[in-house]
């Protein structure tokens, strides 16, 4: 039992928190702008690498470098929107999706150019894990889970208590109605990018701390992030966060040796869980758990 918690549930929650941060941003973007943002993964990788650069340049920890990561991902997201997406806003959503795919490649090329293709890790001092009644948990895992929970809470306050947040939800519910009732759509779109870019920078740094940094790290979790957003009901930020947690737990627990020591799923096939969840959602509940847009 303890083994299940230590080696499967806790890593699952950590991975789930990272997926949740990324999927929430995807879901917000989808809700407001109605397109699947394929550059989200590479924006995440960019955030992680900027944090790495800042932490080596200034000799600070990865946690302290998070503001630097966000200080780059936010302007990059806003610039991509102003330069490319804004000009395509009147085309089909599919064209925006293709455009974001191009942005993804551009971001990845920049990461390769500056940081090279070799996987690297954040400088990580060796600290003993917290132990309590046989329960062992790495300190960085505690911080990742707490950090994600805190950002979810702050996002909740923004969406439910501020005027801007309400405008955002209004636009996500019915863009035309929002426009004619005087919601400043351009401002809402900018705010959406800011929030999504901050969340994805966090996700990138957390993913880098949990595993390692490589230029395709973000693209590798893009499928899982989309699966989480769709599972939660696309356009529903809380649903996406919940979907992320479920997916992270499912991915880690899928390899649990439940039957006679053999893992349920070979660990090499772990990333297939996201696909299975995606297909199952599309088959049985395409609107997602929390009734997103279909």
């Amino acid at each position: 039992m303890l083994q299940l918690v230590n080696f499967y549930v806790v890593p699952g929650l950590v991975l789930g928190a990272i997926y949740a941060l990324s999927a929430t941003g995807l879901s917000l973007i989808y809700g407001v702008m109605r397109f699947a943002h394929f550059a989200h993964g590479d924006l995440m990788a960019l955030g992680a690498y900027v944090a790495l650069g800042a932490s080596t340049a200034f000799g600070i920890s990865a946690w302290a470098a998070i503001p630097f990561a966000a200080a780059v991902t936010v302007p990059v997201a806003l610039a991509a929107d102003a330069l490319f997406y804004a000009r395509l806003r009147r085309s089909l959503p599919a064209v925006l999706l293709i455009s974001s795919f191009g942005v993804a490649l551009m971001l990845r090329a920049v990461i390769y150019l500056i940081f090279g293709p070799t996987p690297v890790t954040f400088p990580r001092p060796i600290v003993p894990p917290l132990v309590w009644e046989g329960l062992r948990i790495q300190r960085r895992h505690v911080w990742i889970i707490l950090g994600s929970a805190l950002s979810a809470f702050v996002l909740h306050l923004i969406l439910s208590r501020t005027r801007a947040g309400r405008a955002m939800r209004a636009m996500s519910d019915d863009p035309d109605l929002a426009r004619i009732t005087g919601v400043p759509t351009a401002g809402v779109i900018r705010l959406t990018w800011v929030i999504a870019a901050v969340l994805v920078a966090l996700a990138g740094v957390f993913l880098g701390l949990d595993t390692q940094l490589q230029p395709v790290m973000g693209f590798n979790v893009l499928l899982a992030s989309f699966a989480a957003a769709i599972l939660g009901g696309i356009g529903r930020p809380w649903g996406a966060a919940f979907g992320g947690l479920i997916l992270g737990l499912a991915e880690e627990c899928a390899t649990y040796p439940l039957l006679a020591g053999a893992p349920l799923l070979e660990p090499t096939y772990k990333s297939a869980v996201a696909f299975a969840v995606l297909i199952a959602t599309l088959l049985f509940r395409p609107q997602g758990l929390f009734r997103g847009m279909i």
Partner: protein, 310 residues
């Protein structure tokens, strides 16, 4: 002289193969509006099907059945279409974006299977010694004969794609893409039409994969990568003109020429700079896509519908 001839044959062969892939994507995206970002998966399945069927027997992977290419290539088309069937049946009922996401998943699953199922695909070792049609003709002649074969396949598939685009089937696909409600009102079955277009496009990609393995005489997990298979084909189609088969082929040839030329230029640079040049090229191809989408969304040769005399 012979060196230059061989180089030209290589470029021409690959341009022809890319032409087939672009035609396949044009059936899906250009004609029907289906977003397939998992081209790699369908190409890989076609490639491995042909590889396992035509290769000599080997203990490192399944089969090696020594089947002739003219049987193996159609089998590749069927295998890729078979892969497209379940995913199409599930995702095509829903929003277009969901298909794009699901196809990324398909590519990932194919990658996992290829890498891990050693008994089937030879795992990281891949499949080697795949015969190439006409290689018995000797060095320059064999390559040229293969180039002609690829050209013939491209022409055949082009004719098929043109016939499909002009047929009632093609018109129904366009109608569906542009106004689903109107098409439905006219008694068209959107799900079935879309599925047919998706399967047909996947079959084209399978043939492209089969020709690629025959050309390189090898297939392995790292032989195909998303940038050069999936993404480059998208750029080709968008640059050439989606919805138009001429545009698809023209885009394939033009973008491939640029790609190969920059490859050659980068190779002239010293070691480290050559690697960096490859990244710069990746950036520029992403930027080029943006410029085309914004400045010339119809591409080199736009779609022509309506009057038949044009």
């Amino acid at each position: 002289m012979e060196q230059a001839l061989l180089y030209a044959a290589t470029l021409g062969t690959l341009a022809g193969i890319y032409g087939v892939l672009a035609l396949g994507l044009n059936l899906q995206w250009g004609l029907t509006g289906l977003m397939n970002f998992g081209g790699l998966g369908f190409v890989a399945v076609g490639a491995y099907t042909a590889a396992l069927l035509t290769a000599p027997p080997s203990p490192t992977h399944l089969g090696g059945f020594g089947v002739p290419w003219w049987l193996a290539w159609p089998a590749s088309a069927c295998a890729s279409a078979l892969l497209a069937l379940p995913i199409g049946a599930i995702a095509l009922r829903l929003r277009a974006d969901y298909l794009a996401i699901a196809t990324i998943g398909i590519a990932e699953i194919v990658r996992l299977v290829v890498r891990n199922e050693d008994w089937l695909t030879g795992g990281p070792l891949g499949v080697t010694a795949i015969p190439r049609p006409f290689e018995s003709l000797g060095t320059p002649l064999g390559q040229i004969a293969f180039l002609l074969l690829v050209g013939a396949v491209l022409s055949l598939l082009f004719a098929a794609a043109q016939a499909a685009a002009k047929s009632p089937f093609g018109r129904a696909l366009r109608a569906l893409r542009d106004d689903e409600e109107a098409a439905k009102a006219a008694g068209k079955n959107p799900a079935r039409l879309r599925l047919h277009a998706f399967l047909l496009g996947a079959a084209f990609m399978g043939v492209g994969g089969a020709m690629m393995t025959a050309f390189f005489k090898f297939i392995g997990p790292d032989a195909l990568e998303p940038v050069t298979v999936t993404f480059l084909v998208w750029v080709m189609l968008i640059a050439g003109g989606s919805g138009n088969n001429w545009g698809a082929v023209a885009g394939a040839v033009a973008v491939w020429a640029i790609w190969a030329a920059t490859d050659w230029l980068a190779a002239q640079l010293p070691g480290e700079a050559a690697t960096r040049a490859a990244y710069v090229r990746l950036f520029l191809i992403g930027l080029a896509l943006q410029v085309i989408l914004i400045a010339r969304p119809e591409g080199l040769i736009g779609e022509r519908v309506g009057s038949t005399q044009r």
